[in-house]
Symmetry: C2
Subunit: 419 residues, 2 copies
């Protein structure tokens, strides 16, 4: 099938707008934010709206035990596994209207376009949204996909509690989103997720979309540096054990590691730096700091961790500042399926869209499905350096339209395979 | 006069203990702290206790309009200007029992010893305590001495208000410490202040006391670094404007400046480092940080400031992080009188006390008096690396006794001059 289809950009934007009004709040300066925390009333209203659109598009909707919604469109051959596309409709507390929603609604738009054109694909198509991708409320991200793909047991997921002690299970039951479909039954032919980039690369470099090669591995550490709090005036340089300076030296070293090329595409961030007592005339005696390391290559990530360890050990010895750390998170890199990436790139070429391979910096539902079936993602550029998890999050109708075109044709291509 | 006298160490320690019980609080682990904020009820109780000791020692006490107390002991020749010694009895909110108190009570002990020995010095001797040396409550340190020595007008000092809106004048009137003596009348022959070092040098290097050569100049700046908050995973290194990294680079550069020798005895501290938003997976978009520079040499201090300016300018250009700063405090260095220092050193030699010249890291009443008369200070080593402004502040009876001996003989020597 080499016919190139076009999605209805206006209809897509209208649906994005309509879903974006649910949980909307005034973030100041006329900017509207979105707050649809997982399994909140707003999330439930959003889910029901999207479900009603699934039904209006003639799809058969099934909810599984963790609240994931699957909307099935029959293919010509019911014996073939479906192509699945989707994302999530929950948001961070102060989010925008594109993160997650664009992936679900561009998949819906693909089905609506096929309906308009009365096209039946050989394979079935499934559109899905997954429960609690953000992880802000119950502490574990990609929760619904992780349960659907057997990484997290259903009972464990239901037992997770928010800050008020309310569990995932409580909320699923209250909102009637614990569906009858057993989790872990779906085995798609392929999975495709369209998502905002959440970074600056595509827009700055003038690309229409990114073909996501995988998800970076993540290593989070919480460092505790203990020196000696002392008088800024009365303590000679030689006698100092300045925990703030030691943290600064680690921060500078991390940047050196990133630009050295020695660790591939390493990204490093010290986001938290908390000196105590934190007074202008007291040498910091204790600092809590975090290090966020990312790398698409598992070996390079591990090498960066070892180099950081050695640096901290040497620094502790030379500075007299005691340095300890805890690993607070660690996920290995995900490499997406080469065939699905080639399909997306070919489709983009046919649509005359400028595209480049890109690594995902954040976690996505697609990485869970990648364990079960060939999977890849389409990244959509965003304005304002791709700002995301922020009311200023914005992809233009043109950017969203290109992504919807690419997703539509990718789904159609994959749904014709092996027929 | 070359007779070498000895102070009564036990009496000194007993008085320190008694004064230390006023405003005492349990700081945990059996350690008692002191809280006698300037012109609080506790400060007033402490002042009255010390005043009663002045009177018991036969001294004529006079309070000036800013609440400074002067206790005069006649000399053989009433036409000669007195030797003045003293310090303060107020404390920081979580202080110890030596800061300030040791200077006042070792001067009292000198007079008590002279009384015991029925010695009349040629010059009169004045013991003093000054109002609000710490500056914690009303925001201006060395307040009483500054008014007494004409740096701050009385009306300005009385108008200063604490966080609750209560003024210095209100409290002086309420506590009946606005005395009848006009400020600015005292012109001593010399001024000597004994004080805890508040640093580690003397104890670490095995000295019994320090002969203070002067007070470092101080430059305080509040830096504001504005970069761009962005996703730690999705933002490539090249695209970052990491305000936290820029602050770290400044911190590292400051240390390089200190060890370079290029700026003499420069000390530099970044005590406040406050990244926003301060989240593990967000590149800091904005950092507030403070820089505390100290130098006993005015030119070297100014040179360090210029070098910091240039570094910040270059860093802003190379990093894309916008860097601005405010000067929040700046005091020039003070150089103490060489003759008074020589007297202290000779006295220490006679007492077989190990001594070294030392620069004061913090501000002291003596620096105000140094504008009016020959002035110097005696520093007393402290345990625990000289920790101060802390309940753990501790100088041993031996350390305090050595200081009292040195102060006594210094006062006696100076009080014999020009007779």
């Amino acid at each position: 099938m080499t016919q190139t289809l076009r999605a209805n950009r206006d209809r897509l934007m209208q649906s994005l707008d309509e879903l974006g009004r649910i949980g909307a709040y005034d973030a100041g300066n006329g900017v509207m934010g979105v707050r649809r925390l997982a399994l909140s009333d707003e999330d439930a209203t959003g889910r029901r709206l999207v479900m009603s659109w699934f039904e209006q598009a003639g799809l058969a909707v099934s909810i599984d035990q963790i609240g994931n919604a699957y909307a099935d469109r029959p293919g010509a051959d019911p014996a073939l596994a479906p192509v699945m596309a989707g994302s999530h409709v929950d948001s961070v507390p102060t989010g925008g209207r594109f993160d997650g929603a664009l992936g679900v609604l561009s998949a819906l738009e693909a089905v609506r376009t096929l309906n308009d054109l009365s096209i039946t694909t050989p394979r079935p198509i499934t559109i899905a949204y997954f429960t609690d991708e953000e992880g802000c409320r119950f502490g574990t991200d990609m929760l619904g996909s992780a349960v659907a793909t057997d990484r997290i047991p259903l009972a464990d997921a239901r037992a997770l509690r928010d800050a008020d002690g309310i569990s995932v299970g409580d909320e699923l039951d209250r909102l009637d989103f614990a569906g009858p479909e057993p989790v872990g039954q779906r085995r798609p032919h392929a999975f495709v997720e369209c998502h905002v980039e959440q970074g600056p690369i595509l827009a700055r470099e003038g690309y229409d979309l990114g073909v996501v090669t995988g998800v970076q591995g993540i290593s989070w550490r919480r460092l505790t540096l203990v020196g000696s709090a002392a008088h800024a005036g009365a303590t000679p340089t030689d006698y100092r054990k300045d925990a703030g300076l030691a943290a600064a030296q680690i921060n500078v070293r991390l940047r050196e590691m990133c630009v050295s090329g020695e660790f591939g595409e390493l990204r490093a961030t010290m986001g938290v730096i908390r000196p105590e007592p934190g007074s202008v005339n007291v040498i910091p005696g204790r600092v809590t700091a975090t290090v966020d390391l990312r790398n698409p290559d598992a070996d390079a990530l591990a090498a960066a961790e070892r180099t950081l360890d050695n640096f901290c050990r040497e620094l502790a010895e030379s500075s007299g500042v005691h340095i300890t750390w805890q690993q607070t998170a660690r996920t290995p890199p995900v490499i997406f399926d080469e065939h699905v990436r080639v399909v997306i790139a070919s489709v983009a070429d046919r649509l005359a869209l400028r595209h480049r391979p890109i690594v995902a910096g954040a976690g996505h539902d697609a990485q869970e499905w990648s364990r079960l079936c060939p999977t890849a993602m389409i990244f959509v550029p965003g304005e304002n350096d791709g700002i995301s998890h922020n009311p200023l999050e914005l992809s233009t109708p043109e950017q969203c339209g290109h992504a919807a075109d690419a997703l539509l044709n990718t789904i159609v291509t994959l749904a014709g395979e092996g027929a």
